[in-house]
């Protein structure tokens, strides 16, 4: 498995495989509800008008560029679909399922082949992906250490 971290890939160029056109840079990420995988790459815009590239449309997450199979889904997500708006994992508050704050997310290591989160890096240590429960606007909720 080859992995990278969110901070390290921010700003990386996004290029379409078919036309070699640069369509933008990596601005951020959208995670699935359980915070276990990257659902989409945020390329441009804000909130509901963000331009998102679904992970399924990523041909290759390369060391110099992200190769996209198709043009990204640009803007105008339906108002009810809050998950379409990029939620900031970086800097998010971390809360244990027993109600204790564990610091903030400094970085996230992910598998560049699958988009799966490997571990979350926080303050003094890291949190394995198996402990992640959900990512919301208030906090990243994680299970307590066994």
């Amino acid at each position: 498995m080859s992995s990278d971290t969110l901070h390290h890939v921010l700003g990386r160029r996004v290029v379409t495989s078919a036309t070699a056109a640069t369509i933008g840079k990596v601005k951020g990420f959208v995670f699935d509800r359980g915070a276990r995988t990257i659902a989409a790459i945020h390329i441009d815009g804000h909130g509901r008008h963000a331009t998102l590239l679904p992970w399924s449309a990523v041909d290759a997450f390369g060391v110099d560029a992200v190769m996209a199979a198709e043009p990204p889904d640009s803007g105008d997500h339906t108002a009810g679909d809050e998950r379409a708006a990029p939620l900031a994992m970086l800097g998010s508050r971390i809360l244990s399922a027993t109600g204790r704050e564990l610091g903030t997310v400094n970085d996230v290591e992910f598998d560049t082949a699958t988009g799966a989160v490997v571990r979350v890096l926080a303050g003094s240590g890291h949190i394995e992906a198996s402990r992640l429960r959900s990512l919301g606007s208030y906090a990243l909720v994680v299970d307590d250490e066994a």
Partner: protein, 188 residues
């Protein structure tokens, strides 16, 4: 056993484990003094629409009370509308406990009841009272199971309960366990 004063829970955000969203915050603690039972919590809304919420959080729907948040499994843990009013109606006739004078069964005034103490795991319960000493020597804790009578202005404790008084919450957790086992033996 981890314990917390009921008033220290007020203002904590209520966070859903399945979404990471703060769905409410604790407004007040619903405690039935006569039955010495924690019923649940009234709530305030969060964010831009702050103010009293119609929803109520029953004690049995709490996943955990932590130092920084009250956790629920998901938003369905909040009882809305009629369910919520039922809880409040039941509490309408409850006698207040905060401010009660505390007397031992032998007629000695022990102090004033200043707080209800809760256990913090899933299904939190009321487990003790904090009492400010009559002689002005700080506060101490007494197990709720020791309660013998409550009138709305006076709480009566058995003389033996004073053996289990502790002046710190950590020692109190162990003392409650010890008090309970003694009670069980007495009943045999």
């Amino acid at each position: 056993m981890n314990l917390v004063r009921a008033r220290d829970v007020m203002g904590l955000p209520v966070v859903a484990i399945d979404s990471g969203e703060d769905v409410a915050e604790i407004r007040d603690v619903l405690y039935d003094g006569e039955a010495s039972r924690l019923i649940g919590f009234t709530l305030n809304k969060r964010g831009r629409f702050a103010g009293r919420s119609k929803a109520v959080l029953a004690a049995g729907s709490v996943a955990a009370i932590g130092p920084d948040a009250v956790m629920i499994a998901d938003e369905s843990a909040l009882a809305l509308g009629d369910d919520g009013h039922d809880v409040l109606d039941r509490l309408g006739s409850a006698r207040p406990v905060i401010g009660n004078r505390v007397l031992s069964a032998d007629g000695t005034e022990l102090g004033e009841l200043v707080a209800v103490v809760l256990s913090t795991g899933d299904e939190p319960r009321a487990v003790g009272y904090e009492v400010r000493a009559a002689a002005g020597e700080g506060t101490w804790f007494v197990p709720i199971s020791a309660q013998r009578a409550l009138s709305g202005d006076t709480l009566v404790l058995p003389a033996a309960a004073t053996d289990y008084i502790r002046n710190d919450l950590v020692g109190f957790g162990a003392a409650i366990a010890s008090y309970r086992s003694t009670e069980m033996e007495d009943r045999r």
